[in-house]
């Protein structure tokens, strides 16, 4: 975390231009005053030290672009939107991914296997920066059935961003589920269950899926962390005022404190979710638990 903060700090300060440059040039006296007010004339190392000292106490400083607003305040105004977007995207990804993964695993080598797997290959390969504008063009401009920007302002404006952000993960989940399911379906206890005369739905959804879904669960943590990072692109494409868009704008505005604040938050999320999904996987998978106790 410290490494991320320091690296971000030095990178943003190294970029040409500063937070107070504007088309209407301020006199050198005014610029000096502004830089003094925010201690930007101090040596970089001492600025970093001050920043870390305050950040540990939960003070991420004032925004340079929005005087009178603190970085925390801006983040909290955007965070609920980003979290909502991430939640819908992950739900969509899980639903589509697991469903098509199961379908594919039950029909190995047939059309119902090839079709979802090819679609998911496209899903993995097409980045959201291309998928987003393509969806906008199709549904927003040609058919004019869905809004192309905003979040919660017009009915249906949450649909395209959710699909754009969720689809890449749906594709990965589909492949992971398929792989996991194929492995489990080939095992003896499934044959036993079928032999006992259990109906197929119960065999698949109850016995097989419990094990088959493990790779997906394991990937959930990195996926959620990745969704936050992915929201930078999606929020910018769809002009959604979440933290991802703030981050991109802060970079353009050289709003140093806001950039750092959001970087810290994203790093924190990434670490937390990876840890959480490891814990979840351990709880669900007895084999991992045994290995853990042996160590």
């Amino acid at each position: 975390m410290l490494i991320v903060i320091s690296a971000t700090f030095f990178m943003v300060h190294a970029a040409p231009g500063g937070p107070f440059d504007d088309e209407r040039v301020a006199s050198p006296e005014i610029l000096k005053q502004l830089n003094d007010t925010y201690n930007l004339n101090d040596p970089l190392l001492s600025q970093l030290g001050n920043y870390l000292f305050n950040a540990i106490q939960g003070d991420f400083g004032p925004s340079y672009k929005y005087p009178g607003r603190s970085v925390s305040e801006l983040i909290f105004s955007g965070l609920p939107i980003t979290m909502e977007l991430a939640l819908y995207s992950i739900l969509l990804a899980l639903f589509l991914g697991i469903l098509s993964g199961i379908l594919a695993s039950l029909n190995p080598g047939k059309l119902l296997d090839h079709l979802p797997m090819s679609v998911s290959m496209i899903g993995i390969c097409v980045p959201s920066i291309i998928l987003g504008p393509m969806l906008i063009l199709t549904f927003g401009i040609w058919f004019e059935i869905l809004p192309v920007s905003g979040w919660g302002e017009f009915p249906g404006d949450k649909v395209l961003p959710t699909i754009t952000l969720g689809s890449a993960y749906a594709a990965i989940f589909a492949r992971l589920t398929r792989g996991g399911m194929l492995e489990i379906l080939a095992q003896d206890f499934i044959r036993t269950a079928r032999a006992k005369g259990l109906n197929e739905t119960r065999v698949v959804l109850y016995h097989a899926l419990r094990g088959g879904i493990m790779p997906t669960i394991g990937f959930l943590g990195p996926a959620i962390a990745g969704l936050f990072a992915g929201s930078f692109v999606v929020e910018t494409i769809f002009q959604i005022n979440g933290i991802g868009r703030y981050y991109v704008q802060a970079a353009f505005n050289r709003d140093y404190t806001l950039i750092l604040g959001i970087s810290i938050l994203i790093t924190f999320f990434t670490l937390t979710f990876v840890l959480l999904s490891d814990i979840l996987a351990t709880i669900l998978n007895p084999r991992l638990r045994e290995k853990g106790s042996m160590n």
């Binding site: 209407r24 301020a26 005053q33 672009k65 005087p67 009178g68 607003r69 305040e73 105004s77 909502e84």
Partner: protein, 534 residues
């Protein structure tokens, strides 16, 4: 598990349905103006903010000594009901309205203005617009810390409702500057209660803290959602105020903006998407507005570079540009070709023009400079900040220069801050620029090209130009002043350290029920005059 999934979907569906908000019909009944206002404002402190978005909200909340005349380019009395200017033009006595008050009921006093002007001139505040008051005696010296005693600055409260201002020199546009939000009063007790005169990061402009003197007070401020203001019952002009409130929506996306307007969520459409201009003009002629704006889009030439320091080269570059074609085929937003730096206004200032498209003459000038057909002319770089519009214009001009003059240039687009940095360091050859005047007077354009002004950025200097601009300041009457500006402009357009391309326009939509909204070059529409009728 099933229950969890079902409840998650219920949450999903509920939150997907759109939120309730006011539509124009019920807003008309309630007297609430719904304004699409571009982007989220940086803030609402009149001494800190800069920018158009902020201006539109600040003039609802605060009021200066004068205000922009909604129907023309002059100013009318606001917090001051009258003023007397001494014969030599150096002293102005303002009489504040006896019933002018703050929103908490406190009387608005001359002392409040003295305090407020001291605040904006306090160096540690880091205000962007202290120069709006530089005309006041010793104001610049105080701001630059050359004098420490504010008593020496030419602003005094003679009594609680009389303000005396002494000017450094005669400044005919001073009353116009007083309509600029940078000179507006702030409530001294509130400022002192929130960290004092030099604190720029305080929370005094939050709805729960703010005390203001304008027609409206701040009701709600939700970042990136809405800013709501309602009538200030202590406003002196409350009886004539027709609106009950205004909702400002920060919508920085043209497509969302368009949807807001078409679905009846706003009374105006801030900017029409270029591809829809022709359609809206045809289909809704009564709502469609195309108005001149006090701004110029131009190219800066770095005159410190050997080849570009030659006037003939600069003339050739300018004469080879077909501005009519650029506004018709490239920008397509109803812009007017610019043949002078200061935007012309028929009834006021009509600057001399000599920049017509004349490729033949352009080639002759280039040959005179020693580059017949562009031979031997180095390949220069045209710098602009990354933006599709700037790029299209740059490509058109690149073609003009190649076709008409045989000159090759490369286009370089960089991020906004890098662009500003390179421009102010002089690390460019030719760069695009834009300027919007702060008050309607040639001075707000021509002064910036005076030798060594911070916004000149071209390295250009002409003693005679400087002297005409100075003479205009000291002129005895308006006619003499404008003649001097004209002469200065003539020199500028002959030497061309800057090449004007077009005059900005405002292209927007406004619903018919909005009355009292008049066109003017600053695009300022005081809310005191606006009403909503069916």
């Amino acid at each position: 598990m099933k229950k969890i999934i079902i409840s998650l979907f219920v949450i999903l569906i509920v939150s997907c349905s759109s939120q309730e908000s006011l539509d124009v019909n019920s807003a008309n009944e309630q007297g609430i103006l719904l304004l699409d206002n571009g982007t989220e404002p940086q803030g609402l402190d009149p001494h800190i903010v800069t920018g158009v978005t902020e201006h539109k909200i600040v003039i609802a909340l605060f009021e200066g000594l004068t205000m922009q005349n909604p129907k023309g380019e002059g100013v009318i009395p606001a917090a001051a009901e009258s003023w007397i200017i001494s014969e030599d033009g150096l002293e102005i006595i303002f009489n504040l309205r006896p019933d002018a008050k703050w929103s908490n009921g406190d009387s608005l006093t001359a002392q409040d203005f003295v305090y407020s002007w001291r605040r904006i001139l306090t160096p540690a505040l880091g205000s962007r617009y202290p120069d709006m008051l530089y005309a006041v005696k010793n104001a610049e010296q105080f701001h630059k810390s050359e004098i420490k005693n504010f008593d020496l600055v030419g602003v005094k409260a003679l009594d609680s409702k009389t303000l005396k201002v002494n000017l450094k020199t005669k400044t005919p546009f001073f009353l116009k500057q007083l309509a600029h939000y940078a000179t507006y009063p702030v409530h001294p007790e509130t400022i002192e209660g929130f960290g004092g005169i030099s604190n720029r990061d305080s929370r005094w402009t939050r709805p729960e803290n703010i005390i203001s003197n304008g027609p409206f007070i701040l009701d709600e401020w939700s970042i990136n959602k809405v800013i709501k203001v309602r009538r200030n019952k202590n406003y002196w002009g409350i009886e004539d105020l027709k609106l009950n409130g205004i909702h400002f929506f920060p919508i920085d996306n043209e497509s969302t903006s368009d949807r807001y307007y078409r679905s009846g969520k706003t009374h105006n459409l801030y900017t029409i998407q270029t591809e829809k201009i022709a359609k809206y003009k045809d289909e809704y002629p009564d709502q469609f507005k195309l108005e001149k704006y006090f701004g110029t889009y131009y190219y800066r030439i770095n005159t410190k570079i050997e080849q570009l320091s030659d006037i003939n080269v600069r003339k050739a570059l300018s004469l080879a540009i077909d501005r009519e074609l650029i506004v018709d085929k490239v920008t397509k937003g109803g812009q007017k070709p610019a043949y002078s730096f200061t935007p012309p206004s028929e009834d006021y200032y009509d600057p001399p023009t000599q920049l017509n498209f004349n490729p033949e003459l352009a080639r002759k000038y280039l040959a005179d400079a020693g580059y017949p057909n562009g031979e031997g002319f180095p390949e220069f770089e045209l710098l602009y900040n990354t933006n599709e519009g700037h790029q299209k214009i740059a490509q058109a001009i690149q073609q003009f220069w190649l076709k008409e003059l045989g000159i090759k240039i490369t286009l370089t687009n960089v991020d906004w801050k890098v662009y500003l940095d390179r421009e102010s360091q002089g690390q460019y050859q030719i760069s695009r620029a834009g300027w919007i005047g702060d008050y309607v007077d040639p001075n707000s354009f021509l002064d910036m090209m005076v030798t060594d002004r911070g916004n000149n950025k071209t390295g250009w200097s002409n003693k005679q130009y400087d002297s005409y601009v100075k003479k205009a300041t000291f002129a005895n009457n308006e006619a003499e002043r404008l003649i001097n500006f004209s002469k200065a402009e003539e020199i500028l357009m002959d030497e061309l350290p800057i090449i004007p391309i077009y005059t900005y326009t405002r292209v927007y939509m406004l619903r018919n029920e909005v009355k009292g909204w008049y066109p003017n070059m600053l695009d300022t529409h005081p809310y005191q005059f606006i009403s909503l009728e069916d």
